[in-house]
């Protein structure tokens, strides 16, 4: 025992103040009561040399801690700045600072390694480190779980019009792809809110295509600040574009600017364009005062031509006079937009024969009432046998409620049940017509059976006015309704189709074709000025979508029909005074009731 005591005293003398501190820490674990007398005994035994050592150790500890704190701060700052300035010339400075921070950190560890080791041996430290490691592991699992959750997510669009989902027709296009299509985005972050919103919309839309087109559509995101080589190979010299590219075989590609890329219609069109070999041809008849596709003024059709080309059609003009009534073999759709001269009889006959033989015609009928010369054709010979007749009148709509009075507007129950109008039947769309140029159509159809589509071959109305509209045979004296005017509802657009080459009963079927006709009682329905007035560049205009759908139905590009114009802009209402009063009452009550209950409970518990 004496030997042990002696050895213990020697050890005490040799112990540094840091050892004392560690001992104290160790005794902390055992409890304060046991520790106090031992600490007092050791304090009594300390000699002056120990106190000097204690001061030195404290200084070392301060230096070590200071170095470590400065080093950690520098390291964190360097990492933060490195992330922020990635790809710029200042990275070298960041690395130098990070290196200095690392040096300080190591220096701190070298100076205070004994403290560090003892600190690491402490029970609380070990428990804390285990807990920290456990927490870091859980954090890693959480991050990985979030990544997996995003990667393999399922999505449901609860909006009534499914405005955040791809339309059925886009899905059909994706489904029908026979080669892989690649969508490459080169989008740069922007500090402008509107630009950021559009970029986000494009990303969301592309993500939908990627999601729906697994195995058929692949998406690659290029960073315009880094992937210079790839962008040069694609022939792209600006950012914020989306490139739609066919598989390795054809290599065809289409580049969409940011605004266009935010439109489902444009992306689907681009996918179809690069993945299909043949393009239907649409001819616009000229020669008798029709509106021209090369004209860029208000009365030209250049905008509509551009729209059709975006939809993969080849658009050409056909001058019946110079071509001597010859309709090209590659014509799939013929468009006659108005006219102020009567057609030569053989030219009318050529068009009628071509349609009867399986051709497709879109007729934008001219108004014969307001034609100053009175030479506008009635196309009776062309439409003979189709059950659609163009009336010589001007449609007046006194109840349109539009900012332009008398603009015939078709909406709600005035939209017929047909594939062309299908997208507009599910939402509150309205399609405006010209206030002075619109004429009505007479459709020879059997009485409608509610809920049942028209039988095949029978003409069908597509758009018609409400009951208050009327058709005036003359507007020279007054625009008001007079006896003899055609009462509403008035048909403004109609269509008919007929199967050609159907074999008689009992005989083998030969090749069949379908002849189709669409007539719209407004010759300027797709003129540049009209599209700009009612549609501008927006895709969400029913006017444009309706005209497009007519061509798609005629050309049997059914997979392009019914990409409905989607809008996430809600309707606006103004609450009545009574509604506002009730709203105020409920709002005040909802705040007062908890206060009253709270006060009662407080009083009850206090009592």
């Amino acid at each position: 025992m004496p030997d042990n005591k002696k050895r213990s005293e020697e050890e005490d003398i040799q112990e540094t103040p840091i050892d004392d501190a560690v001992d104290e820490a160790a005794h902390d674990d055992e409890g304060e009561d046991a520790e106090a007398p031992a600490a007092e005994q050791r304090e009594r035994r300390r000699d002056p040399r120990d106190l000097q050592r204690s001061d030195a150790s404290r200084k070392i500890a301060w230096i070590s801690n200071g170095l470590m704190i400065v080093g950690i701060l520098l390291l964190l700052g360097a990492v933060g700045v490195h992330i922020m300035l990635q790809g710029t010339a200042r990275v070298m400075w960041v690395r130098i600072v990070a290196g200095a921070a690392g040096g300080m950190f190591l220096g701190a560890m070298a100076v205070g390694y004994r403290d560090l080791i003892r600190w690491l041996k402490g029970r609380a430290t070990q428990e804390g480190l285990i807990s920290l490691a456990f927490t870091v592991a859980v954090l890693a699992i959480v991050v990985f779980g979030v990544y997996l959750g995003q990667r393999y997510s399922e999505q449901w669009d609860l909006t009534e019009d499914r405005i955040y989902s791809l339309s059925e027709k886009s899905l059909n296009v994706i489904e029908g792809l026979d080669q892989e299509v690649q969508i490459i985005t080169a989008l740069r972050s922007s500090s402008r809110a509107q630009q950021t919103q559009t970029i986000q919309r494009v990303r969301d839309l592309i993500a939908l295509y990627e999601d729906e087109g697994r195995g058929r559509i692949s998406v690659e995101n290029l960073n315009p600040d880094r992937h210079f080589e790839e962008m040069r190979e694609l022939g792209v010299d600006s950012s914020d574009v989306v490139i739609v590219k066919a598989g390795e075989g054809s290599g065809e590609s289409q580049t969409l600017q940011l605004f266009d890329a935010s439109s489902e219609q444009k992306i689907t069109s681009a996918i179809m364009s690069v993945s299909r070999d043949t393009k239907p041809t649409v001819y616009f008849v000229e020669g008798y005062g029709q509106y021209s596709i090369s004209e860029t003024g208000d009365l030209g059709l250049s905008t509509f031509k551009g729209m059709l080309e975006e939809d993969l059609y080849q658009v050409k003009s056909l001058n019946l006079v110079t071509e001597q009534g010859e309709i090209p073999d590659d014509a799939q759709v013929l468009v006659i937009a108005g006219g102020n001269q009567p057609f030569a009889e053989d030219h009318q006959r050529a068009i009628a024969d071509w349609v009867d033989g399986g051709g497709r015609l879109l007729l934008l009928a001219p108004n014969r009432v307001i034609d100053p010369e009175g030479d506008a054709p009635d196309f009776a010979a062309v439409l003979d046998g189709w059950g659609i007749h163009v009336r010589a009148d001007v449609v007046i709509d006194p109840e349109s409620g539009s900012f332009l009075s008398y603009v015939p507007i078709v909406s709600g129950s005035g939209i017929g049940d047909h594939p062309i109008t299908e997208p507009f039947r599910t939402r509150s769309a309205s399609i405006p017509f010209d206030p002075m140029m619109t004429c009505s159509l007479r459709v020879d159809a059997a009485p409608e059976v509610p809920g049942q589509p028209a039988p095949p071959g029978q003409p069908t109305w597509l758009l018609r006015t409400h009951n208050m509209a009327y058709g005036k045979a003359s507007i020279e004296t007054t625009a008001a309704q007079e006896p003899g005017d055609t009462p509403g509802p008035l048909t403004l657009a109609a269509c008919a189709s007929r199967t050609i080459g159907a074999a008689p009963m009992g005989e083998d079927e030969g090749p069949q074709e379908t002849a189709k006709v669409v007539v719209i009682g407004d010759e300027q329905f797709v003129a540049n000025g009209r599209i700009q007035l009612y549609g501008g560049v927006s895709e969400r205009t029913p006017c444009r979508a309706f005209a497009r759908n007519c061509i798609h139905w005629l050309a049997e590009s059914d997979d392009l029909i019914a990409i409905p114009p989607k809008s996430d802009t809600p309707e606006t209402i103004t609450p009545t005074k009574s509604q506002m009063a009730w709203s105020r009452l409920f709002t005040i009550l909802s705040a007062l009731i908890p206060l009253v209950i709270g006060t009662i409970i407080w009083f009850v518990r206090r009592g």
Binding site: G145, Q150, T574
Partner: protein
């Protein structure tokens, strides 16, 4: 389940004290004021109308709800008493968090009156289904924010400090997406994924995405786990 016993007792204590009623009155009062301002003239018949406002208000009210969860137990030294009962640490944490959720859900249910007004005013033409997704988003974001609040309540006995720390962190989660504009593409993507607004906005638009549900669920789990570890740390000496 002892979790529900703790949650029930905590909720009962909340509603037997004036605190819950003061919070509710303030919440409905301020939300009502915003509603009256928004609908003073024309109003858009939109399910998203109040969803973002409710999210912003959650930033301010959730720290007030969660600050006393564990901090109060620490301050009054009743936490030691609680842990001597036959309950596990996670049961205490989850029970406290559930009680906070209870009060938060009461607040959300009260706010449904605004949609009821809109529904009546629009004579049924409003798109109602996305309201469900907006509320699902509000519940999920509330779950995560309350878990953050429970965590900070577990590390301090000062309720004000707990509330301030909670507010700072949830505001950071709310605004972190905006920081992305100063970084590059990858950084922007990471910040977007971390941000609660990015995940919540989808719900507010009427989209229910399992990826976002996973984010909020795991975020909630992480902070509740950290709260449990903090509670356990008292036994380390």
């Amino acid at each position: 389940m002892r979790v529900f016993v703790i949650a029930g007792r905590e909720l009962k204590a909340l509603f037997l004290s004036p605190i819950a009623y003061i919070v509710l009155a303030l919440y409905f009062g301020i939300m009502g004021l915003v509603w009256l301002i928004v609908t003073a003239q024309q109003v858009q018949v939109e399910y998203r109308l109040m969803a973002h406002e409710l999210h912003v208000f959650a930033l301010f009210f959730i720290p007030a709800i969660s600050m006393r969860a564990l901090a109060d137990e620490r301050r009054t030294r009743t936490l030691e008493l609680l842990v001597t009962q036959p309950v596990r640490d996670w049961e205490i944490v989850v029970g406290k968090w559930l009680a906070c959720m209870g009060l938060y859900v009461v607040m959300l249910l009260g706010s449904l009156q605004f949609w009821a007004h809109l529904h009546v005013w629009s004579e049924g033409s409003m798109d109602d289904l996305p309201v469900l997704s907006a509320y699902l988003g509000l519940v999920l974001v509330g779950m995560m924010y309350l878990a953050i609040g429970t965590f900070f309540s577990s590390i301090t006995e000062n309720q004000v400090v707990a509330a301030l720390l909670t507010f700072t962190v949830i505001v950071a989660f709310y605004f972190v997406r905006a920081l992305g504009s100063v970084g590059t593409g990858e950084l922007q993507d990471i910040l977007m994924q971390v941000s609660t607004t990015y995940h919540f906005d989808e719900f507010a638009r009427g989209i229910v995405d399992t990826g976002h549900i996973v984010y909020f669920a795991l975020g909630t789990f992480l902070f509740l786990f950290m709260s449990v570890r903090t509670l356990e740390s008292r036994s380390w000496g």
